[in-house]
Symmetry: C2
Subunit: 293 residues, 2 copies
């Protein structure tokens, strides 16, 4: 495949699971009608971002894979002839859940999945309570449209994850994500956070000579107990080329961003900036240490 | 040390070694007079960027460490009471040279050195002809102003190098560099290259919660044989904070950029974005492979 038309589905979500699924489906249908061969949904798109608090009742949201969501979106993918990247709360066993991206191929079958490896835990993002760190490693999923290096949210801050996907032959990197502002923060802090988030993800394109797609949710989600302020999800989904240049970028509203990535550009970039050629694997051993003390 | 005032000496260089050294010395003296405790020179500041061609006569530029340059800049550092980062063509033995950064402490002594680990080779940058890849690994140099994670130019494209410096306790990352445009390139390509270069280096700040300093040369250097067009060194030296936000940034002209980095900001950033906490060292083993095939 020389070129790929893809869609970043930047959406917001409410409390009702069925409504959220239908909202996603409508966006997928629109993306397909605009020529997208691949569509990516934001992180945990079936529900509000429930990790603002640690509540045992929220485990009711978890589901098996395969399960109702892969059935629903599998039928949709097949009908539209489109590859889908889903982000689900996976119930693997009693007391054992993951934050899992599932790739549905255009025939509706599950092409593969990725269990989020790096799990955050900071005020408003209490994910370590809900999600066991992934145990599938960093492996791209092969699909009809190429080898997809699917990672999830917090993974985006770790160059190691992107590199391992590139070394395993990923054609592009994909980040479903859910990140936003604390509404109490100052404007400068917000600007710096957003810019850091764009910078680190674009850098994975540069370091690895790969296009990168990041798909965030939008909208304000109040804190469930109103003991805190909630999260203002910042949107700004984007697609960057193999040098990190924006092919498309969103704002703060719901948007279906459709663009075409040209893999000839990635090949050309890797010929003149051949970073994989020069990695000093003889001297990288301490990357496997927690700290070099 | 809570704060550090440092200077990025963005300079251009001619053919005469002694003139270049004096030009550097004048810039160091001005930086010191403006309060800098640390000053960084561009890559290979004693000479033109000689790697545009592969000429055996250019090995005459190489020198021992310690040697004439460390003597000269050692006296200067002591007189100014400033820490200096030099970038020298090191002759280690007959037929064995390195591209070596030397850190001079404020008492004039050599605090340590770093031999460039990743060596480029692309049209106009034939460094593999001149420089044996470094064998000192990625270790910061301890000085009176902190632990300096000194890397050189092509290293800037490798997240592994930055990470290893951070894991070894570097207080900041420092890149002397020599990179420029091919004057024949189109404006869009130039813009994308420069932006990629800024992005990848700022990303090391973000990924590691560390300030980053990059110091480039400026000016056009013609191709020695006029068989090619030469290099238009693009300047744009900068200092970024621990979130990758610019503290100062240069343009295309000679500039002495003096700014103060606040290590309390780095500490605060690392508390709320604790990426080192969550690295999946159990799953990074394949980073030591050339490719995962």
């Amino acid at each position: 495949m020389k070129k790929l038309t893809l869609a970043a589905l930047q959406l917001g979500f409410g409390d009702a699971i069925e409504t959220n699924r239908r909202h996603c489906a409508a966006a997928v249908e629109e993306a397909a009608s605009r020529g997208a061969q691949l569509a990516i949904l934001p992180e945990l798109h079936n529900s509000p971002y429930f990790c603002q608090t640690e509540e045992t009742t929220r485990f009711d949201l978890a589901e098996a894979i395969p399960g109702p969501s892969t059935d629903f979106f599998g039928r949709l993918a097949q009908r539209c002839g489109i590859v889908l990247v889903l982000s689900l709360f996976e119930r693997r066993a009693p007391g054992l859940c993951h934050n899992t991206a599932v790739v549905i191929d255009k025939d509706g079958a599950i092409a593969g999945k990725y269990r989020k490896m790096h799990i955050p835990d900071d005020p408003g993002y209490y994910e370590k309570f809900y999600f066991t760190p992934g145990d599938l490693g960093f492996m791209p999923v092969k699909t009809a449209v190429g080898s997809l290096g699917v990672l999830v949210c917090w993974d985006q801050w770790f160059p190691e994850a992107a590199r391992l996907m590139a070394l395993a032959g990923a054609d592009l990197l994909i980040y479903p994500t859910a990140i936003g502002f604390d509404p109490r923060e100052e404007e400068t802090d917000r600007k710096n956070q957003l810019e850091a988030w764009l910078t680190i993800q674009r850098s994975h394109a540069v370091a690895n000579g790969l296009p990168v797609v990041s798909v965030n949710r939008v909208g304000f989600e109040a804190h469930p107990t109103e003991k805190d302020y909630g999260i203002d999800f910042w949107g700004h989904s984007f697609v960057a080329d193999a040098q990190g240049a924006f092919l498309t970028r969103g704002g703060r509203e719901e948007q279906i961003l459709v663009t075409t990535v040209d893999f000839a550009k990635a090949e050309a970039t890797r010929r003149i900036w051949p970073f994989l050629r020069d990695r000093r694997i003889d001297a990288y051993g301490d990357l496997l240490k927690r700290f070099r003390d």
